[in-house]
């Protein structure tokens, strides 16, 4: 009996050692500058929570760490899925032998990942009681799912009811059938939000799923002090994952501190209390030598370079823009004088100055609705208007916006012209407002600001109460559709914040959905961008460039355009 117990213990120890590649003595210390909200993949959408979810849960497919541009690769599947010719049916084969992290809910048994777990995880995004912030990516996408959602009303989804579009064919085979062909659906499924969850864990922790993430990813949540500290530990049940001959993850423990102020964040990094950090805006000059002739040409300050600190940079997959409410009687509409007004405002805004002064040169002007690095981007297209306040004034004169006795322009019908711009109250927003004020002053147009918190301004915009507001959109997935939908009329008042409605744009957008990435779709995107340039619902902003630093002892440090974190690939060699 004793011998048998010893044998079992030895085998268990051997198994654990084999599976546990991570060195539990190695600790990676990083920081978030904004507090997270929770770790239920179907309940949160902020970047910081997403960074943790990415490490705890496994989506079906993910991105190659090293390949550029970003390339989708199998994650828990044996290969990329078989996709039907019409892009509607995706069939995934899961790798057998992938297990969830140990949790009391599994009662000491190893719990294998199955196709049903993915079906359940996807259905959760449709559940009316969960209100998934990602539901916009799956609503109406799956055959038969709408019926299930309607049947649920305001109650919980009946997860046992079969749905034709989300089916586990057997233990390891998942079949997703879409209502319409969609060639970028794999990229949606690569998002951490679509990682597999175990139904019994979700049901057991129903009252607090945000604090009890149980997944099959490389790390498990060891400790969570909301808004203060998050500790991850390597998941001993994590499947064997090898990159360049190294079994991953390497680091046994990841400690995330929430540091919202710029000075302590920067000082904590240079004093080696953090291993990896972004560079706060205020420390850019301290950390980098920026070529004044070409601010994108940067290198580390010699004192940091001497210490072996590593610099990595990436262009965000984002666009920033100031939109006009196209339904507004003053700034909206497609009449020539309305377009002239929007164009003149765009021409009076000194974008290169804001990039130099506010972004410290660490941004590139936006010229196309789709940013660089996203499928469909056209680097040759120059959509932004040229900065020319004199020509902008001439344009307003030509379309009847006369300067009145008070020195301010009026509408062509003689009524007063005053435009209200929505804005937040942070220091950086005040800097932006100064440039906008300067632009409006140069046009002799009265500008007022409507101050508010983001949620209040968002509410006001959905109620059609805003005239202008500055927004940014980061890629959910690296496909042009994710950006071009921002001006699709069916999304008006939602993702289409400008409430832009243009029949030809809609027709081209709908046609583009039927095409895969390629020359034919790009032609449609160019035509849609020409409409945007002609109608001017947006004033194009910029795309930011982020710089991150790591100490010399951090190995395999490389940023990825889409992955929030690369912790599983990193090693610490002090």
């Amino acid at each position: 009996m004793m011998k048998k117990r010893m044998l079992v213990a030895a085998i268990t120890a051997l198994f654990t050692m084999a599976a546990q590649a991570a060195d539990m003595n190695k600790v990676l210390r990083v920081a978030f500058n904004v507090p997270e909200t929770g770790f239920d993949p179907a309940k949160v959408s902020d970047t910081y929570s997403g960074a943790i979810i990415e490490n705890v849960f496994d989506p079906l497919v993910s991105y190659d760490y090293l390949a550029r541009p970003a390339k989708v690769i199998p994650n828990t599947t044996v290969a990329l899925p078989a996709v039907s010719a019409d892009g509607r049916v995706y069939t995934f084969k899961l790798k057998p032998g992938i297990y969830f992290a140990a949790d009391p809910v599994f009662k000491g048994q190893k719990r294998e990942l199955t196709a049903a777990d993915y079906a359940y995880a996807i259905k959760r995004h449709l559940d009316p009681t969960i209100n998934s912030p990602w539901s916009f990516l799956v609503d109406g996408r799956f055959v038969g799912a709408d019926t299930l959602v309607k049947a649920a009303g305001k109650g919980a989804l009946n997860y046992d009811s079969p749905v034709e579009g989300i089916k586990a064919l057997d233990k390891y085979t998942l079949q997703l059938t879409l209502t319409e062909g969609n060639y970028n659906f794999l990229q949606i499924l690569a998002m951490p939000a679509f990682g597999a969850v175990a139904r019994e864990a979700i049901e057991a922790y129903a009252s607090n799923t945000n604090a009890k993430p149980v997944g099959t990813g490389p790390y498990t949540l060891k400790e969570w002090k909301p808004g203060s500290k998050i500790v991850l530990e390597a998941n001993p049940n994590f499947r064997k994952l090898v990159l360049n001959g190294q079994t991953l993850p390497k680091v046994g423990r990841v400690e995330v501190s929430i540091i919202e102020e710029e000075q302590p964040l920067w000082l904590a990094f240079i004093n080696k209390q953090l291993d990896i950090s972004g560079i706060p805006q205020a420390a850019l000059q301290e950390a980098l030598v920026i070529d004044p002739k070409n601010p994108l040409n940067v290198k580390l300050q010699p004192k940091y370079a001497k210490q072996g600190i590593q610099l990595e940079r990436k262009k965000d997959l984002e666009v920033t823009y100031q939109f006009f409410n196209m339904q507004d009687p003053v700034v909206g509409g497609s009449a020539k004088e309305k377009i002239a007004l929007r164009r003149a405002i765009a021409m009076a805004f000194p974008r290169s100055e804001t990039i130099a002064a506010i972004r410290r040169g660490q941004a590139v002007p936006m010229n196309y609705v789709i940013p660089e690095g996203v499928a469909g981007h056209n680097p040759a297209f120059k959509g932004a208007v040229k900065y020319d306040p004199a020509a902008a004034n001439a344009l307003l004169d030509r379309f009847g916006y006369k300067v009145g006795a008070n020195g301010l322009r009026t509408l062509p019908d003689g009524k007063p012209l005053s435009i209200e711009m929505a804005t937040g109250t942070s220091g950086i927003e005040k800097q932006w407002n100064e440039y906008w004020q300067q632009a409006f002053d140069s046009l002799k147009i009265q500008l007022t600001f409507k101050y508010g918190k983001w949620n209040e301004l968002n509410k006001a915009n959905r109620q059609n109460k805003l005239q202008m507001w500055n927004l940014a959109w980061g890629a959910d997935y690296p496909d042009g559709e994710n950006f071009m939908q921002l001006l699709y009329s069916k999304n008006a008042g939602d993702a289409n914040s400008a409430s832009f409605r243009h029949a030809e744009y809609d027709r081209l957008f709908e046609a583009s959905l039927k095409l895969q990435d390629g020359a034919e779709r790009n032609r449609l995107y160019d035509a849609m961008n020409k409409i945007v340039v002609a109608q001017q619902p947006w004033i194009f902003g910029d795309t930011r460039i982020r710089s991150s630093l790591a100490h010399s002892y951090v190995k395999n440090f490389k940023l990825h355009p889409l992955l929030n974190t690369t912790w599983r690939y990193i090693d610490i060699q002090k």
Binding site: N131, P133, S135, K229, I259, Q263, L267, Q273, K453, E456
Partner: protein, 312 residues
């Protein structure tokens, strides 16, 4: 005394009701709609309606206020709208770190400022008094943020005497390693105004007739200061102390943010930023209750210090 305490406790009910009403009106007026944060960046009207339903925001305002009343009566504020963590757990985890910093800061500041104030009041008009007063005036004219930024930069980063920031699960580690710098900077910020205030209290007391009488009786200066002046000067000290005690629960916002202390100050800021009404409600109600209770305690302590004080 007992009747007085009972009467004061009874008077707290309408005061608390007023606080609740004011908070409720303010939140609904300028607090922001949390459903627009929870819904994410793109959502349907149905999703928004579901969220509002789950948060109870689709109920009438009187109904929402009644829920608030019930929460105050049971002291159960439910779960955070933002993180979905129980509010009681959030506050319980935050109060410890806040007190770990704020309590020593209050005690050390009180002790030092009373002693220094008594000394400079005693040597009023001397060079020492003038130098201390000048330093206090200069110190008070500098923003707390400047002390924190400069202190962290020079003492922690440049000189390496302290860690930049951090927090541990061990109280001893916190007190020995992480608290000293924020404590020091907190003291620098609070000492100057306290010394000036207490100095003026002492000087006022020292000018009273009973001090002259005591001197005429031949009492030593030490006895006059410690037995007579100090005792009477303690009344404004107690007032000031009791007024600051409720704010211990709110933590030292800037110090907590700059030194990574997971206290209440940060939580308040995040809750306001995220329109997290359950957390805002709980903190406001607890601080209001603490303020009223410490005010009552102050009155009782007055009576203990000076038996001439009548509680009516």
């Amino acid at each position: 005394m007992f009747a007085y305490i009972l009467r004061r406790l009874w008077q707290m009910v309408p005061t608390l009701f007023g606080v609740m009403l004011l908070l409720f009106v303010l939140f609904n007026w300028v607090g922001g709609d949390p459903s627009y944060i929870l819904a994410g960046k793109s959502f349907s009207a149905d999703t928004l309606a579901n969220i509002r339903h789950q948060l109870g925001l689709d109920q009438s305002l009187p109904q929402q206020f009644l829920i608030f009343v019930r929460q105050v009566l049971t002291l159960d504020f439910g779960i955070s709208w933002s993180t979905q963590q129980p509010v009681a757990e959030i506050l319980a985890s935050r109060i410890g770190p806040s007190l770990t910093l704020a309590l020593p800061m209050l005690l050390v500041s009180l002790l030092l400022s009373v002693i220094i104030a008594a000394i400079v009041a005693y040597v009023r008009g001397s060079l020492t008094d003038r130098i201390v007063t000048l330093i206090c005036t200069l110190a008070m004219s500098v923003s707390a943020l400047v002390y924190i930024i400069a202190g962290q930069y020079w003492l922690a980063h440049k000189l390496g005497w302290f860690p930049i920031l951090g927090w541990s699960d061990s109280l001893a580690t916190n007190l020995w390693y992480y608290i000293p710098l924020p404590l020091l900077l907190g003291l620098v910020v609070s000492l100057a105004p306290d010394i000036r205030f207490y100095r003026s209290c002492f000087i006022e007391e020292m000018g009273h007739d009973y001090v002259r009488t005591a001197r005429a009786k031949g009492l030593s200066e030490r006895t006059i200061m410690l037995k007579h002046v100090m005792r009477n000067a303690l009344i404004p000290v107690v007032t000031s102390l009791m007024m600051s005690l409720p704010y211990l629960f709110l933590g030292a916002l800037l110090l907590e943010r700059f030194f990574g202390i997971p206290g209440m100050g940060n939580e308040v800021l995040n809750a306001v930023d995220r329109s997290d009404f359950p957390v805002i409600k709980a903190i406001t109600i607890y601080v209001a209750l603490a303020t009223m209770l410490f005010n009552l305690l102050a009155d009782i302590v007055y009576k203990l210090i000076d038996p001439r004080v009548q509680l009516k």
